[in-house]
Symmetry: C2
Subunit: 327 residues, 2 copies
């Protein structure tokens, strides 16, 4: 009962936009502690209204500086800002590395800004989902803006792209195979493109390169703008803020925002269902023992993993049946 | 029947070490085509005996050159080599980018070497599993050596580390936040460390840095060696090959190899079980309709995703029971 009461207070705190309650709620969700489902479910029902913007790009593109500049711009308009930094390149270090990242002091001490860094989660494959859940908690605080900053690599981008209304891809005038490769992946998820550090040599060339790659994107109604910024000097930030808003308006008017939201919900429910089934099998259903038996057979080369899995699935269906009969 | 017969031939071809059959089997598995399970299950039962080595590190570390040099070294000893290149930074481009990668000509045309590149898979989160399945097929060909080359970022590393006997982490004398961050993640999965391009400035410093970070690794019986190579000149390759073999011998003598194999099997069976349950629900069980109904409620703010998931799980258990009763 006490625990339940605590969650009431915590949830109310989040909904009232209290950062301390928000940080505590996020920790419960990240660490998969009791109360996680209740918190997420109730905050979910409170609805969402934030503009969620993902900012991604290769390491060294100046994403943090850009995020800070954008946040300052929103603060100037008296909008509250939540910043979530996700670093999938560091699956083991528990976020410590993000700790030595230097943010603009005015952003860090501004009571209108909430900042949270995430680098890992207990289980493999969980960072994307954890990030989406953290974003939903920050949204529930009622901040007008949520900015999600990620290093532009691999699968996490897809998760963030799914959670965000608008994905801003940040590139800098540089070359190299790795960056080329990343660009290829990033070109398809960006709603807005930014050539940052635009005073460097090669900025014009990069701009042209991006536009020519974007010209190959077919079957999409939205034509991503390509902007130039010098984030460290605040140049181009106003135009970026406008492009993000224009994209959001397009999401509404085109129906694409609705479509994305449907897709997001379906994926989320499916994930939760599979989690529940997995927990039911391995933790509650006693199938870990059955798996151990099969393990011996597999190790001995007498059984393959697919046959072992098939046996477990069949047995679970049998047991469900028995359980229902005796209820 | 015909299809089954074809798979017999295909499977026999793989087991006989025919590259064309191997490539076809891999395509069936990658594309999730019919016959996938049969192929994987039967090849699995054929056992594994390859030494599987993962080579990972940041973009620009010279991994491809190192892989080619190592493969040449194995070829000199008349061992057959399978090379699997996995690029998770390119989730959208379907492997096209890896196509312009230039390999040593002698490796590409050597009939004792099988090379396969992977960059994507239909479903999100599937690249790691697909890579592990591709590795298992290459192993079934009976090559003495399998080398898996990946860009050192994020979750895919964990999948490769799980599939490999020995993980070699390749770094170069350079600096930068991104690389620092990657190093932090990579430090914990490496069994052998290589400072490549060791003739560059800063190589000694990097060596000392790696050793000092490794000194912080606790509770592990294996002390990873730190080697220097100049892969482009073949320098240090012999020592690397020896370190990989020493590590593999340690895996056997310490029992760690056995422990890893158990863990690998348990994860794999669990994945297959969850896949089967998901397919049962969404594709065969008709729960997609139920999900659609919930979707409307969720969109309208009258239901949260957790309640929707709970209803589907309960309904599926009920239906299983009815099915069993009427069987």
């Amino acid at each position: 009962m006490d625990e339940h009461a605590n969650h009431d207070v915590l949830i109310e705190g989040v909904l009232n936009g209290e950062w301390r309650a928000t940080a505590r709620a996020i920790s419960i969700v990240e660490d998969l502690r009791p109360g996680r489902v209740e918190i997420l479910a109730r905050l979910y029902l409170a609805g969402r209204s934030s503009s969620v913007c993902g900012i991604t790009g290769p390491s060294g593109a100046g994403k943090s500086t850009l995020v800070d500049a954008l946040a300052s711009r929103y603060r100037d308009a008296d909008e509250r800002v939540g910043i979530v930094c996700v670093d999938p390149t560091s699956p083991f270090s528990g976020g410590a590395l993000l700790g030595d990242r230097i943010r603009m002091n005015e952003i860090v001490v501004d009571p209108g800004v909430f900042i949270r860094s995430m680098a890992t989660r207990g289980s493999r494959g969980g960072l994307g989902r954890a990030a989406r859940e953290v974003i939903s908690i920050v949204e529930a605080t009622g901040t007008e803006r949520v900015i999600v900053e990620t290093v532009g690599v691999g699968q996490i981008e897809l998760d963030i792209a799914e959670a965000a209304d608008t994905v801003v891809v940040v590139l800098v005038p540089e070359s190299g195979d790795g960056i080329q490769a990343m660009k290829a992946g990033l070109m398809e998820i960006g709603d807005v493109f930014v050539v940052n550090k635009a005073d460097r040599d090669g900025a014009d060339g990069l701009l042209i390169e991006i536009e020519s790659v974007l010209a190959l994107r077919t079957g999409q109604e939205w034509s991503p703008p390509v902007l130039t910024t010098i984030a460290s000097q605040g140049q181009g930030i106003e135009e970026l803020a406008e492009a993000i808003d224009t994209h959001r308006q397009w999401l509404v008017s085109s129906g694409e925002g609705e479509r994305r939201r449907r897709h997001r919900i379906v994926s989320y429910v499916k994930e939760i269902v599979l989690d529940a089934l997995a927990t039911g099998l391995w933790e509650e259903g006693g199938y870990s023992d059955k798996l151990d038996e099969s393990l011996q057979e597999i190790m001995a080369g007498r059984k393959d993993p697919f046959s072992a899995a098939e046996e477990i699935v069949s047995a679970s269906r049998m047991l469900e049946s028995l359980n229902m009969d005796t209820d």
